[in-house]
């Protein structure tokens, strides 16, 4: 596209000074559009993140004998599913839900939320722990979902030793890949549109 743009002007004007001016101007414009597109993408990600941030939050605190208590706080009364993927070697010891509302499959914990504002589970970490808990939630009534966020204050749990893997909750409600992709496309489309308009200007 860029070559085509210059070629048209070369054919039309044969004016090298004019061409030089356009090269500089186009590079300047492209840089501007790139910045604008990036800002738009970031803004989009922030908006998406904000929309679902804090719906399900996780905090982790140490309990007795190498165990940790994980507390999931759920905003509003929801019918939802939560999947918690625990680090390798972690063992689920106790869940605050009735037996029929959770299922453990290896290091994956499935939770059926039916109006509970809070769910607690206790895990036993391996002796040499690595990794962090990753979680996702889906609300089946409102048809929305997201990532289980770390506690809203941004500090996972100060009591837990930094070496303990379970303290490292997932980043706060990162937008899903699909939404990020959509945002990227929107940003690129906007940048392309701006570039198109810029090329026509004069």
């Amino acid at each position: 596209m860029m070559n085509c743009y210059f070629f048209i002007h070369i054919l039309r004007d044969y004016n090298h000074y004019y061409l030089l001016y356009h090269i500089q101007r186009t590079i300047h414009m492209m840089r501007g559009h790139l910045i604008a597109g990036t800002i738009l993408l970031l803004l989009f990600a922030v908006v998406v993140q904000g929309a679902f941030a804090g719906v399900v939050e996780r905090s982790v605190e140490p309990a007795e004998q190498s165990t940790y208590r994980v507390v999931l706080t759920i905003a509003g009364e929801r019918v939802a599913g939560i999947t918690e993927v625990l680090p390798p070697g972690t063992e689920v010891r106790e869940v605050s839900l009735p037996a029929g509302q959770y299922r453990v499959d290896g290091t994956t914990l499935f939770l059926a939320v039916i109006g509970e504002p809070e769910i607690t589970y206790v895990v036993r970490a391996p002796e040499d722990p690595t990794g962090a808990i990753r979680g996702t939630w889906t609300d089946f009534v409102l048809d929305e979902g997201g990532t289980v966020a770390g506690h809203a204050d941004g500090t996972e749990s100060p009591q837990v030793p930094s070496a303990a893997p379970l303290t490292a909750g997932t980043p706060k409600a990162a937008p899903s890949l699909l939404l990020l992709l959509a945002g990227t496309m929107a940003g690129m489309a906007c940048a392309a549109r701006c570039r198109g308009k810029g090329g026509m200007r004069r």
């Binding site: 019918v79 009735p98 509302q101 499935f110 039916i114 089946f140 009534v141």
Partner: protein
């Protein structure tokens, strides 16, 4: 002009199209079983819902999952209908049982759609509307360009069935023959399709109709809030109406010298506002009357209805609102009218049908009560009522409630 042969050809074509649709989309047929009711006892229990959620979550690892649509419906039913099927009796007295939340409905009357909006039913659930709804972009901006299936007088059956609706909403009382025919023909092709007959325009049944819709859409809380809004507003109207003797009112529709009598909705609204309709005892609901008989009854207040016929101006589109004054001047200038108490006392008003004909009747009634009982109207603020209704229940710009677009004189 299409002849009888054309109609017959159309009649032959419709079943073919319907058969094709049925063959191509078997899942459209309503499922009588409650989704997520694993033991088939007619109740989605907490344990069953939990089991479905876990099966869905773990479908990638251990067990076959529950279809997402079923799970979403089961969760919705558990939350909104207490886990059971919902039986609703419509305005015509017909009981219909729903085993799924409605997600693709066709609405053929704007009053019902307006009430649905008050209850928080959004565009995503509305597969199609009638053509008149689609033609009111100021009041129904979200339905401008939305699929339309004709009108109750000229329905597009082919399109209606092709939309694969899960329910159809028609009037119960007005245009009954046309709505009966639509129901008959549609259910002939889709016997499982719930057809709700709900009016949503008659003051005496409006709140019942709204409550029915609230039940259907699991919006009881919003329904209660709407009912409270109407009840509070009408209490104030009652207080004003009983503050002084009812004035003699001549109410004229958008057809000149056509009035209303007992049995018509407008008569009820005049009465509700504390007026005495001078033609209340006429045997016809909408009688055409002799101009002399108006003068003989010496009306103390005159209300002229605008918004249809040759009086299309004002309202939400706000077009040609200057015509309000022209219409009032023409009324005052009618032969012999200068001697009537209404003209002598400056109590001739023009009222737009948008705020008296449908669910917004309480706004028009509040304006009328203020005109009929000026000394007892200190608690009546129809403009504020209108603004609140638009903003809180319709999600529209309250600035649309400009009095000069709906009534004249506006002050």
């Amino acid at each position: 002009m299409p002849g009888k042969g054309g109609d017959e050809a159309m009649n032959r074509m419709v079943p073919c199209v319907i058969a094709a649709i049925l063959v191509l989309s078997p899942l459209v047929m309503a499922d009588a079983a409650l989704p997520g009711d694993l033991d088939g006892n007619g109740v989605i229990a907490r344990e069953e819902l939990a089991s479905s959620i876990l099966a869905r979550l773990s479908s990638g690892t251990t067990a076959p999952g529950t279809p997402l649509t079923d799970l979403r419906d089961a969760a919705w039913i558990y939350v909104h209908w207490g886990g059971t099927a919902r039986t609703v009796t419509d305005s015509s007295g017909k009981s219909l049982t729903l085993t799924r939340p409605l997600r693709r409905i066709i609405v053929m009357n704007s009053e019902t759609l307006e009430t649905m909006r008050s209850l928080g039913v959004t565009r995503e659930r509305i597969a199609a509307v009638d053509k008149f709804i689609a033609q009111k972009p100021e009041f129904f901006p979200e339905y401008a360009g939305h699929p339309s299936v004709g009108s109750i007088w000229a329905p597009d059956y082919e399109k209606m069935l092709a939309m694969r609706p899960d329910a159809l909403f028609l009037y119960a009382s007005v245009s009954r023959a046309e709505c009966d025919e639509i129901e008959r023909r549609v259910t002939l092709s889709r016997p499982d399709l719930p057809v709700f007959r709900i009016d949503c325009y008659r003051p005496e049944t409006y709140l019942d109709d709204a409550a029915r819709l609230a039940e259907i859409f699991g919006a009881e809380e919003k329904g209660a809030r709407l009912a409270g809004f109407y009840t509070d507003a009408l209490k104030k109207v009652d207080a004003a109406a009983s503050s002084s003797a009812p004035p003699e009112v001549y109410f004229e529709t958008w057809n000149d010298f056509k009035t209303v009598a007992r049995g018509s909705g407008y008569h009820d609204k005049v009465t509700m506002a504390g007026g005495a309709n001078i033609f209340r005892d006429n045997p016809a609901e909408y009688p055409e009357i002799d101009p002399e008989s108006i003068l003989a009854r010496k009306p103390g207040v005159v209300i002229k209805l605008a918004g249809s016929g040759k009086y299309v101006f004002g309202g939400y589109s706000g077009e040609n609102s200057t015509r309000f004054a022209e219409v009032r001047d023409a009324l005052i200038g009618r032969a012999g009218w200068s001697s009537t108490p209404a003209v002598r006392d400056g109590r001739v008003y023009v009222l737009h049908n948008a705020i008296v004909g449908g669910p917004q009747y309480l706004i028009g009634v509040t304006y009328m009560a203020k005109w009929f009982h000026p000394d007892g109207a200190e608690d009546l603020d129809p403009e504020s009522l209108h603004r609140t209704y638009l903003q809180e229940f319709q999600g529209l710009d309250p600035g649309l409630a400009r009095p000069d677009r709906f009534v004249f004189p506006a002050t």
